[in-house]
């Protein structure tokens, strides 16, 4: 039987590869997911406040215009966009679309560019 897989790789190559774009973007899928999971609490808090009454809505609006909550909201939205774009890439990999090293590099870079663009657009729209 033909063994169609790479042989052993040296430690140095392993370290260099793990610090390169594709795996860095990949591990950040997990990190962003964990932060988003924690962020659900913040999103629910805002939603609950905004839906409670017109007073609550004004209160939520005022809160989101103060620096720290605004930063939290923008960070969560950015991470959500990042997580979604990376998820779409992942779903494409499931169907073996773009699963070569070259395509993965292009894909990972595209995820970062799309995230940057969508965050810019969201920021313009929402504030």
């Amino acid at each position: 039987m033909k063994m169609d897989r790479p042989g052993s790789v040296g430690l140095w190559e392993t370290i260099l590869f793990n610090l390169s774009l594709v795996p860095m973007v990949s591990i950040s899928h997990r990190v962003s997911g964990m932060i988003l999971f924690a962020g659900v609490a913040f999103a629910l808090y805002i939603l609950d406040m905004a839906l409670s009454s017109s007073n609550g809505f004004a209160q939520a609006e005022a809160l989101l215009s103060t620096p720290l909550p605004k930063l939290i909201m923008l960070t969560l939205l950015s991470l959500l966009m990042f997580h979604i774009f990376l998820g779409i890439k992942h779903l494409m990999l499931d169907f073996h679309i773009g699963d070569t090293i070259r395509a993965s590099r292009i894909g990972s870079a595209s995820v970062l560019v799309l995230t940057g663009l969508s965050v810019g657009v969201l920021y313009q729209w929402l504030w």
Partner: protein, 123 residues
């Protein structure tokens, strides 16, 4: 079966977890697009906000979304837990198994709280 359950995620079957993670991901992407779209096309004040999130179809969609969030997060958090919190990994002692179970219980507790909080906010 007990042994299998110990090593498996929400369903006890890897394939089901895999599909659950993908299906919930698609649901959450659509829900995100819906909410972002609402903010994009409307000049949002309390009236439009309440009319949108307070409408029956949107209440159902939001309930589906929080359930999808919990299902999706469980597969993700479970995977992270089993990958990193295990005896021998990063020199962790045998008691890492207990730490992982505590971590899983914490995740489930947070998810239950999220679900109740979301229901009270939505309905």
């Amino acid at each position: 079966m007990a042994l299998v359950m110990r090593f498996s995620g929400i369903s006890g079957r890897g394939v089901t977890d895999f599909v659950l993670q993908r299906v919930t991901a698609v649901i959450l992407t659509l829900y995100t697009a819906l909410v972002v779209g609402f903010f994009a096309v409307n000049q949002v004040d309390y009236q439009t906000f309440e009319a949108f999130f307070g409408s029956f179809p949107m209440k159902v969609a939001s309930t589906v979304a929080i359930l999808a969030t919990i299902g999706h997060a469980w597969v993700g958090m479970w995977t992270i837990g089993t990958d990193y919190i295990q005896p021998g990994h990063w020199g962790l002692p045998d008691s890492a198994d207990k730490i992982r179970v505590a971590y899983q219980v914490a995740c489930i507790t947070i998810m239950a709280a999220y679900f109740l909080y979301a229901l009270s906010a939505i309905w």
